[in-house]
Structures are given as structure tokens and as C-alpha cells.
């Protein structure tokens, strides 16, 4: 199986290298785009590549940056984690890009990290993730668990008075860490261990009969029950279908998902999903001037009025705008100077608020909870009052409770222990 994947990756990478082109003009600022355009993750990541290209185009229309034009360098890591590291090295050493926008899965980010740190590159990572990380060379513009999972659980607990919890996820690092955080959070809130059911399934799981039947039984004990789903990608559709077929409605047992967004809903029959929830920092349906301008721009760029926008796109948008601001502020694209200039940069987000880059390289974001509608859009049913600061190290996990990340002097550390007052030295 592994051999098969590597072989596939190799075959595709040969094709992909045709994609990356080297600049002719010397005085451009190069923007690397490291998103899979083939393989399993292409479904999600292609959109983000287009978003970066659109932003580059718009910036060039405005006259570029520091008097120079921006130039995008697109490579295809083909959903192959080791290839992400190779392509990152290629972007920095060979193409000499000034910044990289890229990665989706945590494992691809972890694969790129050592390269970025070794070559002192700059990466903007636009997807919600499990936290427990802060690198000097990475800016995390997606949500940390306290900006998605924890507020969603608070909503279920306070507004829907949920007493029993099913934590269902795909078996890999993001769901496992998120569920660990949630489990200890729920227990701290006084939920008994027998009221929590944890379940993991393989990637692309399609036979949900027994699990849904178990959830149904678990939820029929006379207490309000909800499913917190970190089920990833393809496995979602059969899951929701099975829920609907077995007669579990969103009123009885709502499912709140962290990986189901507009893009994922656009290819599927939404009938069985209506009424279930998702927690994000952005929805296409949010009404604001910035958002409608962004959506119009996206439709014009893709020449397709039906293309949807989603949360990682907003994170890319914010990241890109912050980077241009920081470059202008620093007057150079030098990584160290831009990195320092990034901290404290503010830019309007698409939901009518302001995004701030904090000292720990994470953003402040609003948290929204939306109900899935039959048109594949979300109806916002709850939101936080203002922006929530991203927390790199969870306060609910043993071992990361005392850690903070602070990339300003005098701490300058991604995992500073506030008790022992030491930086562990490990940079990722």
C-alpha cells in the first residue's frame, strides 16, 4: 500500500515539476504555493491554490508590493507527505520564494516544518488544526482548538443543554489530539466518563451501520446527546446518509462537525445533512461588505457563479493581506524582518471584524456555529461576542498547560514553560 502511494507520488511529481516555472525577471517578489493539485487532497487544496493566485493577481493590479510585481510559483506535492518537504526545499532553495502559502493536513505541515526552519523560510498555514505547535517560521491563520472545538462544545452545553457526548473522528493526529483536549475539557466541566463515547474510524470509512446504531442507542438514554465530529473528508457523506436512513434526525442528535464546509457540501446530496451543525470562523452566508466583495471577486476570477467560498479560503485571504502589510511595514521581504513585523498586524476579516496576529503566531478570530441548509450553505445560529485569541498550547492537556508561545523579545520561544521559566529549545 505504502509502496503504491510512493510510486503514485513519484509518477505524479514528474508531471508536476512541469508546473513549477522559474522566473525570468529578477525584480519580482516570489510567492510559493504548496498545495496538492492531484491525489486525495486535491479536492480541498486546489481551491486554496486558486485563492492565492487570485490574491496575487489583485495585488498586482494594485501595483504590486514595494514597487515590484508579485509572481506566484506553483508546485504540486501530490498529496504525498514526504514530497511536501522536497517541494518546500525546492521552492526556497531553487526558486528562492519569499513566502510560501501551503499545506492542508497536519502531517504535511509536520513534514515541511524542519525544512522551513532549516532554510529559514516563511509559511502561512491556512487550515484549522490541533494546536500544540508554534514555529518561528510559520504563521497559523486557521483555527486552534480553542477557536473551534471548545466554543462549539460550549454552545452545545449551554444552548442545547447537551449532557451526553459522542466524540467521533477519523483515526489520525488531528482528531485524536482534538478529542483528547475535548475529553479533558468535558471532564473538567463535570461530565461523567460514562457520558462520553469516543470512536475512531479509518480514513474513507463507508460502513457506518454499527457505529450509527451505537450512537442511536447511546443517545436514547433520555438525556440530550450530541456528536462532535472530527470525521475527515470522504467518510462524512456515508456517515450522514446512514444517520438519516436509521432515522436519527438533527433535532434528536445534532452532529457538530469541524471539517464540513461549503466546499465539501457542494458535491453532495445535502438532504440528509440539513439541520446538522458546523463550527468555523467564517461562512459564505455571513453578510458583510468585505465578504460580498470577496465572493464577487472569486466568482469573477473562476468565471463560475456557483463556486462557493469557505473558511480556509478566508484564512488564506487574511494571511495574504497580513503578509503584504507586514512586507510594507518592514520595507523588505527578508524573512526575519517580516516575521517581526507580522506580530501585531491587523487586517479586516470577512465577517465584519478585525483579525490580529498575536505573539504566538496565531490569529484572533470570531467563532461561528452554523446549521446546514438544503442549499449547501450555513445559517449562523450562534457566534462569539468578539474575536477569540488563538492558543497554541491547550490549557486542558497535561504537559501543555504551562507552555506558551511568544515570539517577541525577551522570550522568543515557541514552547516557553511558564513554571520552570525555560524554553525547551526544541523549535517544533
Amino acid at each position: 500500500m505504502k509502496l503504491k502511494k510512493i510510486a503514485a507520488g513519484l509518477a505524479l511529481s514528474i508531471g508536476a515539476s512541469a508546473f513549477s516555472y522559474v522566473a525570468v525577471a529578477a525584480d519580482t517578489i516570489k510567492v510559493g504555493v504548496l498545495h496538492s493539485l492531484s491525489g486525495t487532497m486535491a479536492i480541498s487544496e486546489t481551491t486554496l491554490k486558486d485563492t492565492v493566485l487570485m490574491m496575487v493577481e489583485e495585488q498586482n493590479k494594485k501595483g504590486g508590493l514595494l514597487g515590484k510585481k508579485l509572481e506566484a510559483v506553483v508546485v504540486d506535492p501530490a498529496s504525498n507527505w514526504p514530497l511536501f518537504a522536497e517541494k518546500a526545499r525546492e521552492l526556497i532553495s531553487k526558486d528562492q520564494v519569499d513566502v510560501i502559502f501551503g499545506c492542508w493536513t497536519s502531517v504535511s505541515r509536520k513534514s515541511v516544518l524542519p525544512v522551513i526552519e532549516e532554510l529559514n523560510g516563511l509559511l502561512f498555514y491556512p487550515v484549522q488544526y490541533e494546536g500544540e505547535e508554534s514555529s518561528k517560521n510559520v504563521f497559523y491563520t486557521g483555527a486552534a482548538p480553542n477557536q473551534q472545538a471548545i466554543p462549539a462544545v460550549d454552545y452545545l452545553m449551554n444552548d442545547l443543554e447537551v449532557k451526553r457526548w459522542v466524540l467521533a473522528g477519523t483515526d489520525y493526529v488531528y482528531p485524536r489530539t482534538t478529542n483528547k483536549v475535548l475529553e479533558s475539557y468535558l471532564k473538567a466541566k463535570g461530565v461523567a466518563p460514562e457520558d462520553i463515547m469516543v470512536n475512531y474510524t479509518p480514513f474513507g470509512h463507508s460502513d457506518w451501520q454499527s457505529i450509527v446504531s451505537d450512537i442511536k442507542k447511546f443517545g436514547s438514554a433520555g438525556k440530550a446527546t450530541a456528536v462532535v465530529s472530527t470525521i475527515n473528508g470522504d467518510a462524512n457523506v456515508p456517515f450522514y446518509k446512514e444517520l438519516a436512513n436509521q432515522g436519527v434526525s438533527s433535532e434528536d442528535i445534532p452532529v457538530v462537525a469541524f471539517s464540513v464546509g461549503e466546499e465539501e457540501l457542494s458535491g453532495i446530496d445535502t438532504k440528509p445533512l440539513v439541520g446538522h451543525l458546523a463550527a468555523w470562523n467564517y461562512f459564505q452566508s455571513v453578510e458583510s461588505d468585505a465578504n460580498s466583495a470577496f465572493i464577487d471577486g472569486w466568482h469573477a476570477y473562476t468565471k463560475d457563479d456557483t463556486r462557493v467560498t469557505n473558511d480556509p479560503m478566508e484564512a488564506t485571504y487574511i494571511g495574504f493581506n497580513m503578509w503584504t502589510k507586514a512586507v510594507e511595514k518592514a520595507g523588505t521581504t527578508d524573512v526575519d524582518k517580516v516575521e517581526q513585523a507580522m506580530i501585531g498586524v491587523t487586517t479586516p476579516n470577512l465577517t465584519g471584524g478585525t483579525a490580529v496576529m498575536n505573539k504566538n503566531h496565531h490569529l484572533s478570530k470570531p467563532v461561528l456555529i452554523g446549521e446546514i441548509q438544503d442549499d449547501g450553505q450555513f445559517e449562523v445560529v450562534w457566534s462569539t461576542d468578539g474575536e477569540v485569541k488563538g492558543d497554541a498550547w491547550s490549557d486542558f492537556l497535561e504537559g501543555s498547560k504551562d507552555l506558551i508561545a511568544d515570539w517577541t523579545a525577551p522570550i522568543l520561544c515557541g514552547n516557553y514553560n511558564t513554571k520552570t521559566k525555560t524554553c525547551s529549545g526544541q523549535t517544533y
Partner: protein, 566 residues
């Protein structure tokens, strides 16, 4: 002259139609006025009071939280006439005109266009621009509230199935007003099944509110044969202890009755749980069977290790999608058209692969493996280029959604049940082809002894490509079935190729019956393991088991016997 009258008639008719539709559209707002053009099929409109109309106007503009309050008021101020509005709102079909704040029900008509209907009465309203309409938004708590409101109305006035569903809905939230309704409904009710449900509700009420011990015990006895979940929860509550370790329920007689009733119920639940697991296992087995049966022919009978088998399944699923695009007005029946279409598409691709690649690699399994693996990558990327890497939407027809509820805790989902039956039909047909037709005879002859078969005048080359086409075609048919269960995307095939090989090797290469037994036993074993170990570990245990099994019996469950096997 004649022409003139026709034109006149048309004009008059058209005018009447316009007047009629306009008046119907706003009929509930003008309900008090006598309505002469409208022959009043819609009596409900007459009874809508001015007060309620004001509530409608408020409802449309209110926030989600306020809507709940307004719905409560609507519930109090009105009765069964609200039913069509509640239902439209529940289904997300209730719309309003932003300028007039008038309510309409918008749904698709027979040809698939969105059309507005008057909410009360359901007549078509023409000549309105639906694009300007806004939807009356609902969320989960509103849906729950609406469902309860609808249940209260339907309990008294609905059809038999509606009354039953209403009683079931209301059982889980019994209140004083619900008890009164149940009593009223019980007196009217004539259908035995619904009567029993109503009795359950009343007995539950007796258990929790009565002070007479013998009455309560009798009620518990009556409940002991019921499988409804609220009943079990009620009985469990009777057995609860408080923080000092004392029973909350003071009456020991009631407690012991509840205990024995619970034991009774738990026994049944365990029994149906077992049946359910068996069904899940058979259903998973049927998916294995469908995916593997084509491979059982190409790999089992011909001996070709076809790594592109999964992609044949994928092509079948995409054929379903294309057929669905071609006949958008008959979505219910696309599946039936897709089955032969998928067989032809995957089958001919299979023949093409056999003719162009595999026949040159005869007797060289490693090269065949690599070549077919390459073909599988090519087919995947081809589909990605043609249809985009995004999953495609194959809609499930209504007759394949939902489930047959045999009792409150045991139901069979239609899609799984149909696929189980379908897989058996496909298997039966394939057995017929192999045993009763000349093609089957030739295939068996070639697989047993190729040289001898050729000496007897069988065109082995032709038989090879026909066999490969048959195996691939059946994989395509499996793709149609799988499109109802999982995502239709470029990676669909990959998730089934391992399972398919596993089943064929386990069942015994070259033996179709082995594939049948193998797939069902692996499916059932998987589903019995899963609750104890979780889905990830269950898969691993099954694979480890097969490795050990193959060590012991390298030829699988049903090895081919005799000289032919060598």
C-alpha cells in the same frame, strides 16, 4: 367569426385564470371577504383570524429565537388549520415576499421548476417572481417545536400512519396537555396498533403520577412487553438511587415490578441487537460480494491479477452519475437504467484493456500486476480530468431512503436491504452464466486446461476477452450499487480493491461459491468484532486472521480439486 369566438374564449379564460390565481395567492389575507371566484376548496382560510394574521407578519421578520415564541402563540390561538403551514415550514418550503410579507409554499413541480403555492389550500400561484422570495428560516429547536405541534394536530386528525408517528413522537415528551390529548385520541381511535401506543402513553402517565400502588404495578406489567425507548427510560428512572444510596422510588412493589419488566425488555433488546448485528454483517458482506465477484472471475478463473479492478467499479459509479445527468426528470429510475449501462461501459473498457495490454502479458503475473496498476492510475487521473477531482453527487431515490421499522428498536434500512438482495441476484445470474451457457462452459474449459481447450477448437483468445469483459462489467454493476452507499469520486475504487482480493483469496481462488461464503463470513465477523474492538482494530484483526488462515490452508476455504488445480 369562429376564430373570433375562440380568441374571445381564450382571453376570457386567461383573465379568469389570472383573477383566480391572484385571489388564491392572497386568499388567507382576505379570508373574511366572501370569495366568489374561489369555489372554496380551502375552508381553512376562512377561519384564520386577524390576530393570527398579525402573528404571521411577525413570524416572517422575527429572529430565530422570537420565532419560537410566536409559534407557541400560534399553537394557542389556532388549531388544525395551521397544519399545512407548519409542515411547509418544517420542510423549509415556506417563503415570503419581502414587500408584502405574504406567505407562500415554494416547491418543485413535476418538471423540476420551483413554483409557488398558496400555503393554505395548496393551489398554484402564477405570475410571481420566485427569485425575490425569501425563505422563512428554521433551525433545529424550531423544527423540534414544529414536529411537536404537528404531532398534536395529527394525533387527532391524521391518517393512520401519521397518528402512529404522532403518538410515537409525543411519547418521549409526555406533559399534562399531552395526556389529555392522548385520552381524547384513545376514545376516538379505532386502529389497534395506534390504540396500543396511546395506551402505552397513558400507562406511563399512571406509573409516574398515580398514588395507587396496585394501579401502578398493573401499568408497569402492561408496559413490560413494549420496546419503546421512553418506556425503558421511565422504568430505569424508577430504579435510580439518590446520592445517599437510597432508592428514589419509595414503593418496593413498584420497584420489583419495574425490575422484572426491565429484565424482560433488556432480554428482547439483546435479542434484536443480535439480529441487527447479523443484518449489518450480511449487508457488509453483500458489499464485499459485489466488489469481489468480478474479481473472482478475472483473478479467480483467469488468473489475471487485475489491480485496475477497483477502477472498473469506479467507472460504474460514474456511469450512474452520467445517466442521472442525462435523465434529470426521472431521477427515481436512473438506477435501473444505470445497471445495464454500467455493465456495458465497464465491460467494454475491460475488453479494451484485455485486448490492448493483458493478452500480451500472458503467464507473467508480475508484469500484469504492474501494467494493470498503471492502468488504474491512468483511469483515476482521466476521471479527475474529465469530472474534476471533486466528488460527484449521485442522488438516492426515495424508494431507497429510510428504513422499514419492524419494531421501535429494530429496523432495516432500505438501501442496505436492496443491495443485499441485489448482490444475491447478481451472484445467481453469474452462476447461471457460468453453469448453463456455452460461454460459461468455454470459460471453465479454458481455465482448467488452456491447451486442451484450444485443441478442442475453443477460441481461447476470444474467451479470454469475453471473460475479462464479464468480470469488469460486473464490477461496473457493483459501482452502481456502491454509488448509493459511498462517495462517487476518483478514489472510490481504491478503497475496495484490498477487500476484494481478501475475499477472493479467503474464499478460494477459482471458486465462485467460495467468494459468496467468504464475503458473508468476513462481513459478519467484522460486524460482530466491531462493537468490541472499534472499526480500526476490527479490520486489522480480520486481516491477521486471513494471514493465519492462508498459512494453514493456502488455497482458501474451497480449494479447487483434482488435476485441474495444478
Amino acid at each position: 367569426m369562429k376564430q373570433m369566438t375562440v380568441v374571445k374564449q381564450i382571453i376570457v379564460r386567461f383573465g379568469l385564470l389570472m383573477a383566480l390565481s391572484l385571489s388564491l395567492g392572497s386568499s388567507w389575507l382576505h379570508a373574511q371577504e366572501p370569495n366568489s371566484e374561489n369555489p372554496a376548496p380551502d375552508q381553512y382560510a376562512v377561519s384564520i383570524s386577524a390576530e393570527v394574521k398579525v402573528l404571521f407578519q411577525e413570524l416572517v421578520a422575527a429572529s430565530l429565537r422570537d420565532k419560537s415564541k410566536i409559534l407557541k402563540q400560534l399553537d394557542q390561538h389556532s388549531g388544525r388549520e395551521m397544519l399545512p403551514m407548519f409542515e411547509a415550514m418544517l420542510n423549509g418550503e415556506l417563503y415570503y415576499q419581502p414587500d408584502g410579507l405574504q406567505l407562500y409554499q415554494v416547491k418543485e413541480n413535476a418538471s423540476g421548476n420551483a413554483v409557488a403555492y398558496s400555503v393554505f389550500g395548496g393551489e398554484l400561484v402564477d405570475g410571481l417572481s420566485i427569485k425575490k422570495f425569501k425563505k422563512v428560516r428554521v433551525n433545529n429547536s424550531l423544527r423540534k417545536q414544529l414536529r411537536n405541534s404537528i404531532a398534536r394536530i395529527q394525533l387527532l386528525y391524521g391518517e393512520e400512519s401519521e397518528r402512529k408517528a404522532a403518538a410515537e413522537t409525543m411519547l418521549s415528551a409526555m406533559s399534562d396537555s399531552a395526556v389529555a390529548l392522548f385520552q381524547e385520541a384513545r376514545e376516538k381511535e379505532t386502529v389497534k396498533e395506534v390504540q396500543q401506543l396511546l395506551d402505552v402513553g397513558l400507562a406511563m402517565n399512571t406509573v409516574s403520577t398515580s398514588v395507587d400502588s396496585t394501579e401502578r404495578v398493573a401499568a408497569i406489567r402492561a408496559l413490560s412487553s413494549r420496546l419503546e425507548l421512553p418506556v425503558k427510560n421511565l422504568l430505569m428512572r424508577l430504579m435510580d438511587k439518590n446520592s445517599d444510596g437510597e432508592f428514589k422510588e419509595a414503593d418496593p412493589l413498584v420497584r420489583s415490578a419495574a425490575e422484572s419488566a426491565l429484565k424482560d425488555i433488556d432480554g428482547r433488546i439483546a435479542y434484536y441487537g443480535l439480529l441487527e448485528k447479523l443484518f449489518f454483517g450480511l449487508s457488509l458482506g453483500s458489499v464485499f460480494l459485489l466488489a469481489a465477484i468480478g474479481l473472482a472471475i478475472t483473478f479467480g478463473v483467469m488468473g489475471v491479477i487485475n489491480m485496475a479492478h477497483g477502477e472498473m467499479i469506479m467507472l460504474g459509479a460514474y456511469t450512474t452519475y452520467v445517466v442521472q445527468l442525462l435523465m434529470p426528470n426521472h431521477l427515481e429510475w436512473t438506477i435501473l437504467v444505470a445497471i445495464p449501462a454500467a455493465f456495458l461501459v465497464s465491460g467494454s473498457v475491460g475488453v479494451l484493456i484485455e485486448r490492448s495490454v493483458i493478452r500480451f502479458l500472458h503467464g507473467r503475473p508480475l508484469e500484469t500486476l504492474l501494467a494493470t496498476f498503471g492502468i488504474s492510475l491512468i483511469l483515476q487521473q482521466l476521471v479527475r480530468t474529465i469530472f474534476s477531482p471533486l466528488n460527484r453527487q449521485v442522488s438516492t431515490p426515495d424508494w431507497l431512503s429510510g428504513s422499514i421499522e419492524l419494531n421501535p428498536i429494530f429496523s432495516l434500512t432500505y438501501n442496505r436491504l436492496s443491495i443485499l438482495i441485489f448482490s444475491l441476484i447478481v451472484f445467481g445470474l453469474l452462476m447461471l452464466v457460468m453453469k448453463k451457457t456455452s460461454l460459461g462452459l468455454n470459460v471453465r474449459a479454458v481455465s482448467q486446461n488452456r491447451d486442451m481447450a484450444r485443441a478442442m477448437g475453443i477460441k481461447t483468445e476470444r474467451v479470454d476477452s469475453m471473460t475479462f469483459g464479464l468480470g469488469s462489467g460486473i464490477a461496473g454493476v457493483a459501482g452502481v450499487a456502491l454509488s448509493q452507499l459511498t462517495n462517487v469520486g476518483p478514489n472510490l475504487g481504491q478503497s475496495y480493491i484490498i477487500d476484494s482480493f481478501m475475499v477472493v483469496v479467503f474464499g478460494g481462488v477459482g471458486n465462485l461459491l467460495g467468494t459468496l461464503v467468504g464475503s458473508f463470513s468476513l462481513g459478519v465477523a467484522n460486524k460482530f468484532l466491531e462493537p468490541a474492538t472499534g472499526a480500526v482494530l476490527a479490520n486489522i484483526i480480520i486481516l491477521v486472521f486471513i494471514i493465519l488462515f492462508i498459512q494453514k490452508r493456502p488455497k482458501g476455504l474451497f480449494p479447487q480439486k483434482g488435476r485441474a488445480a495444478e
